[in-house]
């Protein structure tokens, strides 16, 4: 990485100053943005209330397409949530040091994405007020949950993932919370003080802390693979042509990392600019994330191809028809958006110059986000709309309620992210410091 020549802060104290600068009073623009996002969330809540009062019929869902935008968006956000853990845990275990500058942001993204995702199964069910029927606990109803159901697996997969992500995020944050506590003098002192759990920075605490991070990484690593595999089984375990396929687990995991990485770039570029973090989130990060995106894009593209190949090779007419319908039927537009955005658009990232051209790269990632949302939309709607019984084919169009709630999910995610930016250090101070000192030992690069 010798080619990367941006300035690295000279002294360790500078890190605290740079990174904790975010704790200064927010600008009016920031406040307006957060309020706007809160307004979007409010619109979503209103739409949900409307839907809860009248019934799912206010969504566009119809026979035979019983799942639509909500499940699409659920899978989308679960996918987004994957980059955080990948960056934090797997790259930590692989000692990929470049992750240190972006891991906090990615972890925060994970937590908020999981939070967003977890709302959708609830929004999606017909009787949201009975959601607790899905939680297995001894109850007076004398009922139990069905552990054969992939949806029940989802309950566990998402909850486990949320728990580990939050823990991981929080444990990593403790030393920085202490640094923030020491820096502010208003009410936030008490907040940070409480959250810092009495961190003093003793050697013993540091030892326990690094142990905890290591163990949590170990726990989180399989989740990167398992959570989205489980989510993919929501589809793969069914008999629906276009869903019932063994490639789904790796295909979904790759897609999740693909979309997650893209989202990291989408979110971090403006943050880097706004907070002047160019010295921390450097070109090498974009270069590496670009490589990840190209790799996963290729895997996803391969999966698309294999699906079509298998449809043809299986000689299963239902499967063939389903895929023909996917590419050339009612939903051709969605399919071609998906293929263009996920396979064609990322191709320039093979070129290093493109990866280092941040505005261009940023625009690409937005297309990738769109493409990955459509990937789930295509899988869900084309599969369901064109199943076995020709008399029961249909065409699903999302309603304004669904689109409002979809927009609100972005508002929800970004609102929390923005609040996080102003409340907590966006970069893990101790980790960049580590990098700094190690860097000095290694001669300025690694």
């Amino acid at each position: 990485m010798a080619a990367i020549t941006e300035p690295i802060p000279a002294t360790a104290d500078q890190y605290n100053d740079d990174i904790l600068r975010v704790l200064a009073p927010p600008s009016p623009l920031y406040v307006i943005t957060v309020l706007l996002l809160a307004g979007m969330v409010g619109a979503g809540v209103a739409a949900l209330a409307y839907q809860t009062y009248w019934g799912m019929g206010v969504a566009g869902l119809q026979n035979p397409v019983f799942w639509g935008v909500y499940i699409t968006t659920f899978v989308f956000w679960v996918g987004i949530a994957h980059a955080g853990t990948l960056i934090s845990a797997i790259l930590f275990l692989f000692r990929a040091k470049w992750r240190n500058a972006i891991n906090r942001g990615a972890e925060a993204m994970t937590v908020f994405a999981v939070m967003t995702a977890a709302l959708f199964p609830l929004i999606h069910i017909g009787r949201i007020w009975k959601f607790y029927f899905m939680i297995p606990y001894p109850n007076q109803r004398g009922l139990w949950t069905n552990f054969k159901s992939p949806l029940e697996w989802d309950v566990f997969a998402v909850n486990t993932y949320a728990t580990i992500s939050i823990l991981f995020f929080f444990v990593g944050l403790i030393p920085d919370l202490a640094a923030a506590r020491d820096r502010v003098s208003d009410w936030r002192r008490y907040l940070y003080g409480a959250l810092a759990l009495g961190w003093r920075g003793t050697a013993e605490q540091w030892r326990a802390h690094s142990r905890a991070v290591l163990h949590l990484s170990g726990l989180a690593t399989p989740l990167v693979l398992s959570v989205h595999s489980v989510v993919s089984w929501d589809f793969a375990m069914s008999v629906v042509p276009g869903w019932h396929t063994t490639i789904f687990a790796p295909y979904f995991v790759a897609g999740a990392i693909f979309s997650g990485m893209a989202m990291v770039v989408t979110v971090m570029v403006p943050v880097r600019k706004a907070f002047g973090l160019e010295g921390y989130i450097r070109m090498e990060h974009f270069d590496n994330m670009g490589k990840f995106i190209v790799l996963t894009s290729t895997i996803v593209g391969y999966a698309y191809a294999v699906e079509y190949f298998m449809a043809w090779y299986s000689a299963n007419p239902y499967e063939q028809m389903s895929f023909w319908h996917r590419a050339f039927g009612d939903y051709w537009w969605a399919t071609w958006i998906m293929i263009s955005c996920n396979v064609v658009v990322p191709l320039p990232l093979w070129i290093k110059k493109v990866r280092l051209n941040i505005p261009f790269f940023w625009v690409l990632t937005i297309f990738i986000n769109i493409g990955m949302w459509f990937e789930r939309y295509v899988i869900i709607t084309t599969g369901l709309s064109h199943e076995y019984s020709p008399a029961a084919w249909g065409y699903y169009t999302p309603s304004w309620v669904e689109l409002t709630i979809l927009a609100a999910s972005f508002g929800f995610f970004l609102m929390f992210f923005l609040i996080f930016l102003r409340m907590f250090p966006i970069i893990a101070i101790q980790e960049v410091k580590e990098l700094h000192y190690e860097g000095h030992h290694e001669g300025g690069a690694h």
Partner: protein
């Protein structure tokens, strides 16, 4: 005063807050109040059945009304009725809704300016008595009724005689005038004969929709299905559009529009030629010019085909030709009917499958010409008081513009709900509905059915018969005999209680022999001519299977059952052939104007292949005037479109052209001009394709292959046969996937695995050869299982709720089409894909093999719906029960839960009936016998296509049908092991010997 310490304080605060919170989120308490004085015959929770008569059409089928706690809930055909054998049609099953209709008249109404306003019975009768006295004395009162028979009919005669004005008109839109006139010319009997479908082995229907509305359609369905069991029978349909009846025939001949009569004559000619020894008198000479070749030129039907069919008719033991229904009544209607009756005569059907009995109730029906005469009398002021009961001529005879004419007389309507005629009345004296009233009828001679009240009148209505009796007393011209209608019935029937227990007396009258008139010189056989306003497409109006003459259109449930041919709902659609659509430059949903010399309507088009290219077709029965808007002011939603005009009244397109011989309106008499308007309607289409893409949902086997043993056909691996007959009709162009695995192998069927119970594995069998696609099962199911009607908008949005989807598929065999109907309901799979995916066990497999749905446990993930390959699960997108208008809730079946928003539902195999039968069996210490449980669909099926029973009982009917070589499972390769086995329909080939 004791100290209140902190802990106690907190306890109290906590307890009261908790109590308040709990109370706030509790469901409202509902109380069950027992009877203080329990009425006799009523045991709460136990249904009571009363025999009665269905009055949805003139057929008057005997029915049994299931009541619970004094409310009728479900209608079922009376098995004692020899015509229907316990079946009831799609309209009959929906009939109860009339009684619980929220839009019924609350009580008597009188005219005030342009509006009808409520009035008391006393005042109403007083007003009427004042008018009737002088009018009756002057002979200026007329009673227009629908087809009536029995005691009420006699009473009407006596009443009109008593008041001094014996003028009556029994007006029905389907009055069979040409058939009656033809029979008079041929046999000297101006009547409608009885057609014995059950006996017929070769049937030719000349545009009679005998399975839908023509004569006793339910009886015809029963007989038709009975005559075809085991691959017997051969039926041909003649007409420009393949109706539901046509689609159940084995061949479809569509002559040039207007030339259908010549086909009948050509067939008669050939049949007569094949019987050189028969003494046919003058007939031979009459038929002389109609050689197959001459007919072929006129009709466009190849002469060979005519010869072939004539051969079949000539060699048949019980041939039957059906004279045209209204849809083919052209300017030559009587001649056409006579031609068909001649065909019946020469083929020996008269006295065999076509028989005359003592004058039937239909013989007394007025003709269109009679109604026209009345219109003239009204116009001329020759009528002062006009009674209208049970018929709606303002709607059904728009040519006569009766509305303003009715206003010239003092018109009294007895309608129980508003209709076009009642809206013009000066006085409305609402009658009870059929389920609140006494009555009897004798439509088929010898079959006398009784009708009795099954609930207290819901509204302030009175039985018309009693109103008339009181009225006569009021004007001091009493009707002789007992003073109430109930007593008159008693007098008529003798032991009324015994008769009520049976539902009537059911001895079909013996036929009366007839002979052909010696002089047939009055017969002129001409093609139908058509009036045109520079249009070039023959306009073909047909009676609707669901709405009959229009009376069914007010029942939302019937609006929502997809039409058996177009599969469309809630509207009128102009049917035309795709090539015609192309020529006109229109596509599905484009709104066009249809113009004839009589009028024009705007209607969306629906191109489909089962109609002749030169013809456009439109169903009658829609386009009713909306209800009084004041009724709707109090309602928040109009999902069922009660304030809107649904579709168009196609009858307004008919010019006032009459078939001179019979006085019938000539329906098939116009050419229509079609002009695209550029507007478009987004059509609600529950079924989007008629092509089953070779997926083997609806399978068929040819008779020849069946005879060879289709199951063991080594060349072709299984049940999907490939007949080698070489004419192309035997080939199935679409090979179902996994053809080699499609046949149901007995060893694969494993009730033991599918149900852990030792005794029961419930299952169903659907014989597609019998199923006509009439849709009676759908309305029966909806009534039994509280399935809500949701309205056009929601059907368009894909939210249909019907548990049975009657799929219609069209198969193409070179130049011929074959239509197949498949009732698709929950298959209660042994290995149901919906079960494992439910996270909360809301759907699970019960020990008896049922795939049980528990709505109260459902949270609405809808995964089950996704994973159901048959797509028979239905989701409650809204709380449809919110739209229930009082008193509709009284008609809900208390044995079946009313589902609210957010839960799934589906066919339960009528589990409430299974449980009732099991309870009974347990008390009696035995197992449920075969045939003891009958779901609503199977019960009402006129074709007995659906059979329900226990697969673990090897002697049960379902087990036997499973062993049939025609048995198959839909989507067999998915290994869902359905509890429903289908039996392939049988393709009877023209060229084969049965």
């Amino acid at each position: 005063m004791p100290e209140l310490d902190r802990r106690d304080f907190l306890k109290i605060v906590g307890l009261s807050a908790g109590a308040a919170a709990t109370a706030a989120c509790k469901d409202p308490v509902e109380t069950v109040i027992p009877y203080l004085n329990q009425p006799e015959e009523i045991i709460p929770g136990i249904p009571t059945y009363y025999a009665s008569t269905c009055r949805e059409c003139p057929s008057g089928c005997s029915i049994q009304v299931k009541t619970r706690e004094g409310r009728p809930l479900k209608l079922e055909g009376n098995p004692s009725d020899p015509r229907t054998e316990g079946a009831l049609c799609v309209r009959g099953q929906a009939a109860l809704a009339r009684t619980y209709d929220a839009t019924r008249f609350e009580g008597p109404m009188k005219r005030e300016g342009e509006r009808l306003v409520p009035v008391s019975w006393e005042e109403a009768l007083q007003i009427l008595a004042e008018k009737l006295g002088p009018a009756g004395a002057a002979g200026k009162a007329v009673f227009v009724s629908g087809q009536e028979s029995g005691t009420f009919d006699a009473l009407l005669d006596e009443f009109m005689a008593a008041i001094g004005s014996p003028r009556r008109l029994r007006y029905e839109l389907f009055a069979h005038e040409p058939l009656r006139a033809a029979n008079e010319k041929l046999f000297g009997v101006r009547d409608v004969p009885r057609f014995d479908f059950g006996k017929a082995d070769v049937l030719v229907a000349f545009g009679a929709d005998f399975l839908e509305t023509w004569l006793d359609a339910t009886a015809a369905q029963v007989g038709f299905a009975n005559s075809r069991r085991g691959g017997r029978g051969f039926a041909v349909y003649v007409g420009p559009r393949l109706s539901l009846s046509g689609s159940n025939c084995d061949a479809w001949l569509s002559p040039e529009p207007g030339s259908e009569i010549f086909l009948a004559l050509g067939l008669a000619h050939e049949v007569a030629r094949a019987k050189p020894d028969a003494d046919l008198g003058a007939v031979r000479a009459l038929l002389e010019p109609h050689t197959p070749d001459a007919v072929a030129t006129k009709t466009g039907i190849p002469a060979d085909r005519i010869r072939l069919l004539a051969e079949k008719l000539a060699s048949a033991t019980a041939p039957l030709a059906l004279p045209p229904g209204n849809e083919l009544h052209g300017s030559n209607a009587t001649a056409f009917s006579a031609a068909v009756q001649l065909l019946n005569y020469v083929s020996g059907a008269i006295g065999n499958t076509v028989s005359f009995t003592s004058p039937s109730a239909l013989s007394a029906l007025a003709t269109y010409a009679d109604l026209k005469q009345l219109a003239g009398q009204l116009e001329a002021g020759e009528v002062e008081v006009l009674f209208i009961h049970g018929t709606n001529p303002v709607y059904s005879a728009p040519q006569l513009e009766l509305g303003p004419k009715l206003r010239k007389a003092f018109t009294v309507s007895f309608a129980s709900a508003n209709d076009e005629t009642a809206a013009q009345a000066d006085l409305v004296l609402p009658d009870h509905t059929a389920f609140e009233a006494w009555g009897d009828s004798e439509t088929a001679s010898g079959v006398r059915t009784l009708q009795q009240p099954t609930l207290n009148p819901i509204r302030v209505t009175r039985q018309t018969a009693d109103v008339l009796l009181e009225l006569a007393r009021k004007i001091e011209k009493p009707v002789p005999g007992p003073a109430t209608f109930r007593e008159r019935l008693q007098a008529q029937w003798g032991d009324l209680d015994a008769a009520l227990a049976a539902g009537g007396s059911f001895d079909l009258a013996e036929p009366v022999p007839v002979s052909l008139a010696a002089d047939l010189s009055g017969l002129r056989f001409e093609g139908a001519t058509a009036a045109s306003s520079d249009g070039n497409l023959a306009l073909y109006l047909y009676p609707s299977n669901h709405f009959y003459d229009g009376r069914g259109a007010r029942l939302p449930m019937l609006q929502e059952v997809p039409d058996p041919v177009t599969k469309l709902v809630w509207g009128s659609y102009l049917e035309l052939h795709p090539t015609t659509a192309k020529q006109l430059g229109v596509v599905e949903g484009d709104i066009v104007t249809v113009e004839t010399p009589a009028g024009e309507v705007r209607v969306p088009v629906f191109p489909h292949e089962t109609i002749r290219p030169e013809v456009v077709a439109l169903a009658i029965g829609q386009g009713h005037q909306p209800l009084d808007p004041t009724w709707l002011e109090t309602r928040d939603r109009d999902r069922l479109q009660r304030s809107k005009v649904i579709g168009v009244n196609a009858l307004t397109l008919l010019p006032d052209a009459v078939d001179g011989d019979s006085g019938a309106l000539a329906w098939y008499s116009s050419k229509a001009k079609i002009t695209p308007t550029g507007e478009k309607k987004w059509i609600a289409k529950p079924q989007t394709t008629f092509d089953q893409e070779g997926r083997g949902v609806a399978q068929a086997v040819s008779l020849a292959a069946l005879a060879r043993g289709a199951s063991a056909d080594p060349e072709h691996g299984g049940g999907q046969e490939h007949s080698g007959s070489g004419d192309g009709r035997g080939e199935d162009h679409h090979e179902p996937p996994y053809a080699d695995a499609m046949h149901l192998e007995t060893e694969e069927f494993d009730p033991a695995a599918d149900a852990i119970s030792d005794t029961y594995r419930w299952g169903m069998s659907v014989d597609l050869d019998a199923c006509s696609g009439c849709g009676a099962c759908i309305t029966a199911c909806a009534t039994e299982n509280n399935i809500f009607t949701i309205g056009e908008e929601l059907v368009r949005g894909g939210r249909e709720m019907a548990w049975i989807r009657l799929e219609r598929y069209v198969e193409h065999h070179e130049d011929e089409v074959e239509v197949r109907h498949v009732p698709m309901m929950c298959q209660h799979c042994g290995a149901a894909p919906c079960e494992p995916v439910c996270p909360v066990f809301a759907t699970y497999h019960n020990p008896e093999g049922l795939n049980v749905m528990v709505p109260n446990r459902c949270i609405g993930t809808r995964y089950c719906g996704n994973n159901c390959p048959y797509k028979v699960r239905r989701f409650n997108y809204f709380s449809f029960d919110r739209d229930v208008e009082s008193p509709e809730e009284l008609g809900l079946n208390p044995d079946v839960i009313v589902r609210s928003k957010g839960v799934m539902e589906k066919c339960s195999f009528c589990v409430q009936r299974i449980n009732a039968a099991k309870d009974k069996a347990v008390i009696e210490g035995r197992v449920v016998a075969d045939g003891e449980v009958t779901p609503a669909c199977a019960q009402t099926c006129p074709a007995k296509a659906i059979v329900f029973g226990n697969h673990k009982d090897p002697t049960s009917e379902v087990s036997k049908r499973r062993e049939d070589p025609r048995a198959y499972w839909v989507f067999h390769h998915l290994n869902t092991r359905p509890g429903v086995t289908y039996q392939k329909s049988i393709r009877r080939n023209e060229t084969e010997e049965a």
